[in-house]
């Protein structure tokens, strides 16, 4: 029990120290975020659509799937709830909904959920209708405020910088999407976006110094190399089949869209590698300005060994987890895993492979660029 006690003591003392130093700041941030979430929880008047707060939901079994013998059950729901906004505010509404036991294409609603609904008064004055969707903004708000709070409490200034760069990046993406909607080419826009993302993110991560310059330059060069490599493989094989790309209904120019996707998707990982390498080499040069280029290459290699495995793992899990529901749906429809991976999943795999190739290319390129830019200006430390 002794080590447990000591561990608890240490954790407690850390908490105590943190609390004392930043209590006011933490409380202030917490107060702002809590009030923000509270507003989102009660923002019924922001919406034109009718919102119903469910009080009672009765499920009745209507059907069992007979064909496949998998035991899927179908239910219909009779929902009673209070209307929260609009002309009928405060009155009772009676809604209907259908769902299946797997919730694959539909949802089962429970008491306490708030849903959007289409409502009509029938001749008896009873308000009836059906559910169109769940009100999810409060969960978005909870998650976003949790993220912001953790960033500010634990990482402080850097966390704040990250939030600012995130907001600027998302705003520029929104503007680009608006321009694209008005007819501008998506690939041209993505190229501009990549430039903006790189400058903004690296500015807020490193500040303005030669480290940031080296990282920016090597990120962009690596991105160009990766794209050239991708185009070469594309030209030398039978190309990509875009049938299984997701969200393509009614979109033209799929090759350009896919190119933009992998451009933006690989950017983050390449930037990560470039920053890590550039700051490691920068430290070395600052500590020992006389260090030779050969030693720098050797150390850059060592750092590269350490980061490449975990970086490739991040890409793997971040990309493949999104495909889970579709893979399971296909497996259950008797399509073999081999077929799915080799011919129906390639979009995720292409993104993952190109991202990984970008990570690997970034290691030597950043070492090279860092040595070029930093050794020259060694007189002027950042």
């Amino acid at each position: 029990m002794e080590p447990m006690k000591r561990a608890a003591n240490i954790i407690f003392s850390i908490l105590l120290k943190l609390e004392k130093r930043n209590l006011i700041l933490n409380l202030l941030v917490l107060a702002v975020l809590v009030s923000g979430v509270t507003i989102v929880f009660n923002n019924y008047h922001w919406y034109d659509k009718t919102i119903v707060n469910i009080e009672k939901a009765e499920n009745t079994l209507t059907d069992r799937s007979k064909a496949s013998g998998k035991g899927e059950k179908y239910f219909s729901q009779a929902i009673t709830g209070t209307i929260m906004n609009g002309d009928y505010q405060g009155e009772k509404a009676y809604l209907s909904n259908r769902f299946s036991s797997s919730n694959l294409l539909d949802d089962q609603y429970n008491p306490g959920d708030e849903v959007f609904a289409k409502i009509n008064a029938n001749e008896n004055g009873r308000l009836e209708g059906y559910v169109t969707g769940l009100k999810r903004d409060k969960y978005t708000a909870i998650l976003a405020s949790l993220l912001i709070w953790l960033l500010i409490v634990l990482i402080r200034k850097k966390g704040l910088f990250f939030i600012i760069s995130l907001v600027i990046n998302i705003a520029s993406l929104g503007y680009a999407l608006h321009l694209n909607h008005n007819g501008l080419n998506i690939l041209t826009l993505s190229n501009c976006l990549v430039l903006i993302f790189t400058f903004i993110s690296l500015l807020f991560i490193c500040g303005i110094n030669r480290k940031a310059m080296a990282a920016t330059l090597s990120t962009l060069i690596t991105l160009v190399f990766t794209m050239v490599l991708f185009q070469i493989t594309l030209a030398n094989t039978d190309g990509i089949d875009y049938t299984y790309m997701e969200y393509i209904a009614g979109q033209n120019n799929l090759s350009q869209l896919f190119l933009s996707q992998i451009l933006i998707g690989s950017l983050g990982a390449i930037m990560d590698v470039a920053v890590t390498e550039a700051s490691a080499l920068n430290e070395l040069i600052l500590k020992n300005p006389e260090i030779s280029a050969k030693e720098l290459i050797q150390s850059g290699r060592e750092v590269g060994y350490d980061i490449m495995g975990t970086m490739i793992n991040i890409m793997l899990f971040a990309y493949l987890c999104g495909a889970f529901p579709l893979i399971i749906l296909k497996l259950k429809n008797n399509i073999g895993l081999n077929t799915i991976i080799l011919s129906q999943l390639p979009m995720e795999l292409y993104r993952f492979l190109i991202g990984s190739i970008g990570i690997l290319l970034a290691i030597p390129i950043t070492v090279f660029i860092s040595i070029l830019t930093m050794k020259k200006g060694k007189g002027s430390a950042c």
Binding site: I10, D106, L143, F197, S266
Partner: protein
């Protein structure tokens, strides 16, 4: 096309990483195999959440201990990633069930591809949503955790007089440096993946409020946000656990066969005995 890209990746791995590149490739193959195995088990009707937690632990165990050996760094990383997985399991269960974020979203349902398949699968999609979130998280959590652990370890090696509190502080400050770029990796990967979704939402005339309430956006948003929260949480946990472990090495002796500091300790004791 796929084969050529894999070939290029393997060649690059070998050219840049040599033996370490091959180790990376082997553990990558293992991770893909583990993911496929867990998906197959889910499709057999096993409980998706239980399967995912199991496979996450196996993946963490293999990635950490096979790639980096059994020492104080990997031991404390494994402990903190496991703790983060359990914490976020609670959060994602709450969010996943309350917000009905499982299943095929309303935008995806409009695609031709979905209509080709029978929806009678009898697997609870809310649970699949939880396992998606947990799987997406472990790569980034392991990365942040290993980086903090090895940095604190280096600090301690260069200055043995630091207290647990000081080691924890240096862990946090190093963690802040790497966190920004790791989170960039995550959210750019997510932005790239969902670029076509955003274009489509714009084409369907969704307003910002409509978008926030749609399942399609919410799925992407929860995935990336919970991964980021995991990355942040893992940093103090790793910092405190590695500081505690290297300050009390003798208690953890039997877990750490490859620990360099323990060997040093043994040598010191031997020297003293010889004197």
């Amino acid at each position: 096309m796929l084969k050529l890209l894999v070939l290029i990746l393997v060649i690059l791995l070998y050219a840049i990483g040599r033996e370490r590149g091959i180790v990376t490739f082997v553990s990558l193959c293992f991770n893909i195999a583990a993911l496929s195995a867990s998906i197959i088990m889910m499709s057999w009707g096993w409980d998706p959440v239980a399967v995912t937690i199991m496979s996450c632990f196996v993946i963490c165990y293999v990635t950490l201990f096979y790639q980096n050996g059994k020492n104080s760094k990997t031991f404390s990383s494994f402990f903190s990633v496991a703790a983060v997985l359990l914490i976020l399991f609670a959060i994602s269960c709450f969010i996943g069930y309350r917000s009905h974020s499982g299943g095929i979203n309303e935008i995806m349902q409009l695609e031709d591809e979905i209509t080709r398949y029978a929806p009678d699968i009898n697997i609870d999609m809310s649970k699949i949503a939880v396992s998606m979130i947990l799987t997406g998280l472990i790569g980034a959590a392991m990365d942040a955790s290993i980086a903090v652990a090895s940095a604190v370890y280096e600090v301690y090696k260069n200055n043995r007089n630091l207290s647990i509190m000081e080691l924890y502080q240096s862990g946090i400050s190093i963690g802040g440096d790497i966190l920004g770029t790791t989170m960039n990796t995550l959210y750019f990967a997510c932005l790239g993946e969902s670029l076509s979704l955003f274009i489509l939402l714009k084409n369907y005339q969704y307003s910002v409020l409509d978008m926030i309430n749609s399942k399609a956006f919410f799925q992407e948003f929860t995935d990336v946000t919970i991964s980021c929260i995991g990355c942040i949480l893992v940093i103090p946990l790793t910092a405190i656990s590695i500081a505690y472990v290297i300050k009390n090495l003798s208690q953890f002796e039997r877990f750490l066969p490859d620990e360099e500091l323990l060997l040093e300790l043994d040598e010191q004791i031997e020297k003293e005995e010889n004197k």
